[in-house]
Amino acid sequence: MAQLMVGAFYNPHLGQELAQASGIDHLAMADPPRADDLWWPRIRERYTLLLHDYLGQLSEPLDERAIARARSLAELYHTPWVAEHFQCLHTEDGTYNLNYVFPPLYTEEFLERFVANANALQGRLDQPLVMENIPGFFDVKASRMPEAVWLRRFFERTNAGFLLDLPHIWLEAHYHGVDPKAFLADFPLERVVELHVAGVEPDRDLEGPWIAPTEPSQEMLDLLHHAIERCPRAQAVTFDAFSPSLSAEVLQRSVARIRAAL
């Protein structure tokens, strides 16, 4: 296994703390740096940066504007890979937008769309593309195959890397009443380049747990330990929290606990 980097997301409100922190190897960038971010030059100089912005949904081809933006951010960050999500969150005509990650139907038609558009995007990038799994809170009857099968077929046809979001796996297993480790076993772990780890908290609307800007539980860290042994190509583990309510203490303690769990 390659040397594993352990990092977090860049949270601009924690710029000062991150510029001075130790024990963090990389930062994932969910948004471009703001022009008034005084800490950005030091962050850029100090860290390996991973492009994890919203580039577009691959159910449709990315247009020239989106590709130019992706290339520009990749160059700015010197990112080793470019991450996007298996998501389809706005309608084709742009009228409705969920503004939150939401998976496509797991069907042949969507597989064809994602494969074609991911291959086209890869042809325009100078870095490898990695794709992140997205949890479903409910099953949709129009889906035709298990998520893990759909993902495996996608990776076989694109040779893209897999960004394995473990809390997403944990949540899906939880809401389906199955063991997370057993649920994980079906996913193409040999393709994993990066893993995400995060905390979960009870949500009043969902009446159950969901991702939150808190520390990962011991159960989540155990799942990480279990997963990483099965991901021979993994290069990075990222504490996946990006929120104005996240504190520097939680971020730094989470990264340290993730490192200790590996």
Partner: protein, 258 residues
């Protein structure tokens, strides 16, 4: 119906509360209604959390003197009461949620004594949030479909807003986001600001000029460029430069050819 259309229906059901209860959706039986409703409510709270954090960031920076953080309203009964009517991204929903936040921020004890421009500030933030709402272009298509303006009959975009303020807010806003001890104060000076949004969703705020005010008043989609130049008293080059700026920020579009 192809799979993309089914996905669109699913996205609409999650975004549009009235549609969610309609027979058009329910009869499709695509998902468990209770689970879908719970996820839709979660999404609504998240959607407006992100917007309140972004557009009400100045009020948030003042919370240490007003005692009111805007996003608090999302956990309250006022927001719960809206959930059955919300359509994520619609103007009506943006107006309703922005009003909740503005009323909450203004309601702090003695807030106006320490922040005399608070009414102006929340009006500014409300305008930003409202003008951002509405359908947007996510994808320009391939190069062959690039937008070309035919400089025919400009029309003011229906979302564009012109608002008068008693304080020169743009002068104080950057200082609110930096560390401060005494509340930063703007000069008391009447200004008019233009709020607009580009088709791709970029929100702009600009000071207006007499030329801009006049053009926005006259741009009804029927007047030609010659009519506008004559009625606004602008030279052709001046008219074109002003219109190009207004088109770029989405305040004006063209009734034909764009």
């Amino acid at each position: 119906m192809n799979d993309r259309a089914i996905q669109d229906a699913l996205i609409r059901a999650l975004a549009d509360a009235p549609f969610r209860t309609s027979p058009d959706w329910r009869d499709q039986g695509l998902a468990d209604p209770s689970r879908l409703e719970r996820f839709a409510r979660f999404l609504a709270r998240h959607y407006y959390y992100e917007r309140l954090i972004h557009f009400f960031k100045y009020s948030r920076a003042l919370a240490k003197v007003t005692g009111r953080t805007p996003e608090t309203v999302l956990a309250g009964t006022g927001f719960d009461a809206l959930l059955g009517d919300l359509v994520l991204g619609s103007r009506a929903s943006a107006i309703a949620v922005a009003r909740l936040a503005a009323d909450h921020v203004r309601g702090g004890n003695g807030a106006l004594d320490r922040v005399p421009y608070l009414d102006d500030l929340v009006a500014y933030e409300r305008a930003m949030m409202v003008v951002e709402s509405g359908a947007r272009i996510w994808n320009d298509g391939t190069g062959a479909e690039a937008i070309k303006h035919q400089w025919s009959a400009p029309i003011r975009d229906e979302g564009t807003m012109l608002i008068d303020f008693a304080y020169d807010l743009p002068l104080v806003l950057p200082f609110l986001l930096r560390p401060w001890t005494d509340v930063p104060q703007p000069p008391r000076q009447q200004i008019r600001l233009l709020f607009s949004r580009s088709p791709h969703g970029r929100v702009s705020v600009a000071r207006t000029s007499t030329a801009i005010d006049t053009l926005l008043e006259l741009a009804d989609g029927r007047k030609s460029l010659e009519d506008l130049a004559r009625e606004a008293g602008l030279r052709p080059a001046e008219l074109q430069a002003t219109l190009e700026g207004l088109v770029d920020i989405g305040a004006v579009r063209f009734s034909h050819g764009s």
